[in-house]
Structure formats: structure tokens, C-alpha cells
Amino acid sequence: MHTPPEQGLVARVEGLSKRYGSGPAAVAALTDVSLGIRSGEFTAIMGPSGSGKSTLMHIMAGLDSPSSGRAWIGEQEITSLGDRELTLVRRRRVGFVFQSFNLVPTLDVEANIRFPFELDGRAPSRDEAAWLDRLIDALGLRARLRHRPAQLSGGQQQRVAIARALGSRPALVFADEPTGNLDSRTGREVLALLSAAAAEYGQAIAMVTHDPIAASHADRVVFINDGRLVADRPRTPAAEISEFMLGIEARS
């Protein structure tokens, strides 16, 4: 049953289930989840701890395989790929920003930003180099290019990670609790940068979080609970998200 990808979808999953263990002791991490991520949209995937949101992200990024169901990045189905092809998908089509330990500690800022090109064994083209320059200026990293990650604050490290994630213009950027380690002001700045990347550069961004304030910066909020997709909302204020989450937790 091949379904042609919908217009504007850069990543999607269909009928996704993930179980751990077998028999009566099996635990369902995901049950029949279908979801599409649109380009130019900043999507938050919300849910309490243990809801399955991280498992969903891992499968969407080709880091884990589902028990049943399928996943695509762009036109390419990734559920059937081997380790080598998945490595190339991650290198060329996906960007990552996560909570901490984002950067290669032995490389300076510039080398970290160029790392995806380095892995591909090629120098950025003139066009790509101009794009990297633009990102470095937009993220205020020009003066830090020779610094090592350990010499940067948490917020600066996240900026470098964002520059790296956007640098190869991937189909999709995954952000896993990107503000989890930051103070609230720095966290707001990072969220604004992600939001701007979606609005200005048409970048698709999927952010996994359990923080209602972080989710309120997104264009769209998807709620996961007990491994099921329970709601799909447009941009929502933090208070409403919070209330909705409390409702979910009370019911479960």
C-alpha cells in the first residue's frame, strides 16, 4: 500500500507502532501513529515523560526502527534502509539540536558548523558557503569561530548547534528539548531562532519537548500520550497547552 506523499510534507510516518518485549510482558511505546511534518513549519511534539514522543522522534529520524508502520523523509522511505543508507540520510537530510553535549568537544565552532560537509568529504559550494556565512552572522557567532565548545555558554553552544543543523539545509531539523539546559531568557532566544528559521528560511523543524512555554513558540502542537497521538493544534498559548497537558495526565 504505497501512498504518494502529500504536497509540502518533508517527513511523515504512517500507522507507526513500537513494542518492546513480547507476549504478555510487551510494552507498547507507540500505537498506530500517523503524522506529517510540513516544510516551513515549526512543529512541537508534546507529551509527558514516557509518552512515546522520544521514540517517535527516533523513528522519524531513522535512529530506531518501528515494530510496524512506515516512515519517510521526503520521498524516501527510511523504514527499510540499512545502517549505511540511514547514515547518509542523517548526514544529508536531517539536522539535530538537542539538550546538551551537542558539539564535538575537540573541534572549534567553525569546524563544528562545517562538520556535516566534512563528513561528506567535500567543501561547501560557493552558494553553501554564503549560506553558512549568513547563518554565522545571523546567530552572532562571527567572533566565536575559533572557540572550543567548552569555552562557550550553554546558549552559545545551542546557537552553534542550530547553525550546524541548518547549514546543510536538511529536509528536517529535529530539536530534542533544545532549551532543557538553558535559563528562561536564553531559552526564549533559542526558540525565537528556531521559529525564525522556519518562517524566514522555510525550514521544517520538529521539536520534542514537555515544556508548555517552549511549545507555545511553535506553529503547530502535536500531543502524544501513552503512545497515541491525542491532539493536533495550531499555535497555542502556553497556558492552554499547560491546561491540556494537565487534562491528559488527569485522565491517564
Binding site: L63, T87, R90, F98, S100, F101, N102, P116, R164
Partner: protein, 465 residues
């Protein structure tokens, strides 16, 4: 990304030592040959024999250096797990990461070999100058740089490259998703059922034992039995090293039972078991060193006693003294030659322990936060070191006595045995000395870095990624 030599210090050091040894021996052989060419004539067979002896002992040194390098690289991988997971997540291939580590090893080996070669030349030159000054050598020009020196240098570089490749195997098991884990991953995972490794180790060990037995049997009629026994010894010992990760934890468990019942002792004893790969890596360097020196000591003593017995039987006490003198000199030279490999093993032991302790700064921070005093923590680390030393010493001594006796038996069994086995002679005072040195190395190798690891505050230690 170019390779970096961070963490490869031990590799550079042991490859340099192995090269100094190999090149130095050839240089000294050359000088001796030139110095004696006028008095005894240039005898090609003497020079050939000395060259062969040099190569045999250099091969032992390179083998030990390669094992140390394998462990050093495996330790580096254990310390870089999180970074490796990160670059895998960003799209680096596992094979590519492994190649990069092997390339770092190659670079370290090449650097060590270059340093070692120059150091060996300087050393031989110094020996020549001292020899001439003291009149031990005829005053003339010596040219001691030979083409054959390319053999140890090339062998060191090649062996280091292979060792780094073999030590980096665990890179293949690092999953990219580990980089996303909120929890810092444990230094290592428990040994999974790796049947392939166990089977290879068992086959090598069994095959080696069979060859040893064959060597002893052939040795009853001809000294050539020793050559078979040497091959059997190398094969079975490689089996022991490959299987160490299965055997050593069991021995550590036994040793741990003897170390007392208070919190520090129990924790130390369990720690050694919690990371069987790390414990085995630290222990195996010590096992190699103890096995080597014990083997040569037992073989030398057994050989000496048996030959002196034969001399006394045939010619009475008259010839005894001169014979004893010659044999003692020979044993001393052999001890020096094998002692060099033991030094390389000692570097491996100290490096494995030091890095092992430093990599656990976070774990020690947790224990401090839970209320362990620095004194208790040091005692825990000391208990681990004592447990490790005792285990490795017992295993190495048992192997060394077995190999040493097999070597002596297969070499002189046809002359002295009259169809019976000759009893091994074990120099116990020597083993006590080896135990003392091993304990000293193990304690200093873990307690000195422990001072550093426990000096940081618990909060800082827990923040270490």
C-alpha cells in the same frame, strides 16, 4: 578531520621503547661484530646468530607493545563513547570512525618508531664512546646503522596499526541514538555473549597446549622440540589474552572474596567486576609482564640446575665453577632482554589504571555526594588495585612456570631427561620481588590519579560529561 594524538601517549611511549630495543640490539650487535672482527675474524655465523637473537627478543617486545596499544585504543574508545555516538548521529559511518582511530594509532606508532630509532642511535653512540673511553672497545670508527634496522622499525609501525584496528572494534557497537540519551552513558556495557571471541580464544588455547605437548614429546629426542613449543606457547598465550575478558572477571570474583567486608572493600571488589572489559584490560598487561619474567626465570633456573647436574655427573666438581659462571652471565643477559618487554607491559598497566580512574571522575563524584570520604574512596580504589594485582600475579605466575618449564624441558629433555621429565626449578625469591614490583606499580598507577579524581568537588565531578 585529521587524526589527533590525544590519549595516545602510552602508544607513542611503548612503540618508542620497542623500537629503541629492536634498533639498539641490532646496533650493539653490529658494534660487537666490528670490534671483534680483528681478533676472532669476521665470523658471519656469529653475527647471524646474534641478529636472530635480537629479532626474537624484539618480536617479544613488539608483541607486548601491540597488546598494550590494543588496550590503549580500547580505553580511548571507552572514554569517547559519547562523542562517537554524536558524530554517528550527525552522519559519520561506524567504519569511517573506526578507520580514523586506526589512523591515529598508525600515526602514534610512526611517531614512536621515529623517536625510538633516533634514541637508539644516540644510545648506541653513547655506549661506543663510553666503551672506547674505558678501553672496553678498540679505538676505531664504528658504523652501526644497518639496513636490517628497517625490520624492527617497520614491524613496530605495522603492529601498532593492526593493534589500533583491533582495539577499535567497539566503535562498531556504538549506536547514534546514545547521543540523545539524557543520562550519561556508562563507560562500558557488560560483556555480551560474544561467542565468536570465546570460540577463537578456546581454539587458540587448546591448539597451543597441544603444540606445547608435542614440543615436549619431540624434545625427548631432539632440541628442535623447543621450536614447536615456542609456537605452541605463543598460540596458547594469545588465546589467554583473547579470552581474558571471560576468565579474569571470574578470578577477580574469587580474589574479591578475600578482601574484607566493609563498604569500601565490598564496593572496590564489585567495581572490578562491573566493567569486566576495563578490569581485564588493566589486568592483562600485568599478566603478560609477570608471565614473561617468570617464564624466563623458571626456564633459566631449570636449565642451569639441569646442566650443572649433568656436568657434575660427568666431570665432577672441576668443571662446575666455570660452567656456572657462563650460565649465570647468560641468564643475566636474557633477564635484561626480557626485562625490557616487562617495562613495556608496566607502561601498559600504569596507563590502563590511570586512564580508568580518570574516566570515572563522575562516578567518584556520586560516591562523594552520597557521603564517601576521600579516604574511603582511596581505599576503594586501592582494594581494586590489590585485587587486580593479586589476580594477574597468580595467573601470570602459573602461566610463566608452565611455559618456562615447557621451554627448558623441550630444549634439553633429550640430553638430560633420559626419557623422564625434568622437574621445574622455581626461584621463589624472584617471584616475591616480582609481586612487590607489581603491587607497587598497581597502587601508584591507581592511587596517584585517584588523588586528582577525588580532589574535585562532588558537584564539579557530577557535571563532567
Amino acid at each position: 578531520m585529521s587524526g589527533s594524538l590525544r590519549g595516545h601517549g602510552a602508544t607513542v611511549l611503548v612503540t618508542a621503547l620497542a623500537t629503541v630495543f629492536g634498533v639498539g640490539l641490532l646496533g650493539v650487535t653490529e658494534v660487537i661484530a666490528q670490534a671483534t672482527s680483528e681478533s676472532v675474524g669476521d665470523d658471519p655465523s656469529v653475527r647471524l646468530m646474534l641478529t636472530i637473537v635480537s629479532f626474537v627478543f624484539t618480536a617479544i617486545a613488539i608483541y607486548v607493545a601491540a597488546v598494550v596499544t590494543t588496550n590503549t585504543v580500547a580505553t580511548i574508545v571507552a572514554g569517547r563513547l559519547r562523542t562517537i555516538a554524536l558524530v554517528r548521529l550527525l552522519g559519520a559511518t561506524a567504519a569511517g570512525e573506526r578507520r580514523r582511530l586506526a589512523r591515529e594509532g598508525l600515526l602514534a606508532g610512526a611517531a614512536g618508531a621515529a623517536i625510538g630509532m633516533v634514541a637508539a642511535w644516540a644510545l648506541v653512540l653513547a655506549l661506543v664512546l663510553v666503551g672506547i673511553a674505558t678501553g672496553a672497545l678498540p679505538d676505531r670508527a664504528y658504523s652501526f646503522i644497518t639496513v636490517t634496522m628497517a625490520v624492527p622499525v617497520g614491524a613496530v609501525v605495522l603492529a601498532t596499526w593492526l593493534a589500533a584496528w583491533s582495539g577499535s572494534r567497539r566503535v562498531l557497537a556504538v549506536t547514534p541514538v546514545a547521543a540523545l540519551g539524557a543520562a550519561v552513558p556508562e563507560g562500558e556495557q557488560p560483556v555480551r555473549a560474544r561467542r565468536g571471541r570465546a570460540v577463537v580464544a578456546a581454539i587458540l588455547f587448546a591448539l597451543g597446549l597441544a603444540l606445547l605437548a608435542l614440543g615436549i614429546a619431540v624434545g625427548m629426542v631432539s632440541p628442535a622440540g623447543m621450536l614447536i613449543a615456542v609456537i605452541g606457547g605463543i598460540a596458547s598465550f594469545t588465546g589467554v589474552i583473547a579470552g581474558s575478558v571471560f576468565v579474569i572477571p571470574q578470578l577477580l570474583r574469587l580474589a574479591g572474596l578475600l578482601l574484607g567486608r566493609d563498604a569500601a572493600a565490598v564496593l572496590g571488589a564489585r567495581n572490578a567486576l562491573r566493567h569486566p572489559e576495563r578490569s581485564s584490560r588493566s589486568a592483562i598487561a600485568l599478566v603478560i609482564g609477570v608471565t614473561l619474567v617468570t617464564m624466563f626465570a623458571v626456564a633459566g633456573e631449570t636449565f642451569r640446575h639441569t646442566v650443572l647436574q649433568m656436568v657434575t655427573d660427568r666431570w665432577g666438581d672441576a668443571g662446575l665453577q666455570q660452567f656456572d659462571q657462563t650460565l649465570t652471565t647468560m641468564t643475566m643477559i636474557l633477564s635484561f632482554l626480557v626485562g625490557f618487554s616487562a617495562v613495556i607491559a608496566a607502561v601498559g598497566l600504569v596507563n590502563a589504571l590511570t586512564v580508568g580512574v580518570l574516566q570515572r571522575t563522575r562516578e567518584f563524584g556520586l560516591l562523594r555526594a552520597l557521603g564517601f570520604s576521600t579516604g574511603q574512596l582511596r581505599r576503594t580504589i586501592a582494594v581494586e588495585a590489590v585485587q587486580l594485582t593479586a589476580t594477574a600475579f597468580v595467573l601470570g605466575t602459573a602461566l610463566g612456570i608452565g611455559y618456562g618449564w615447557a621451554g627448558a624441558q623441550s630444549l634439553i629433555g633429550s640430553e638430560a631427561g633420559h626419557g623422564r621429565l625434568i622437574p621445574p626449578v622455581v626461584p621463589w625469591w624472584f617471584l616475591v620481588g616480582v609481586a612487590a614490583v607489581a603491587a607497587l606499580l598497581a597502587l601508584s598507577g591507581s592511587l596517584l590519579p585517584a588523588r586528582h579524581a577525588t580532589r574535585v568537588s562532588p558537584v564539579q565531578a557530577l557535571a563532567v560529561e
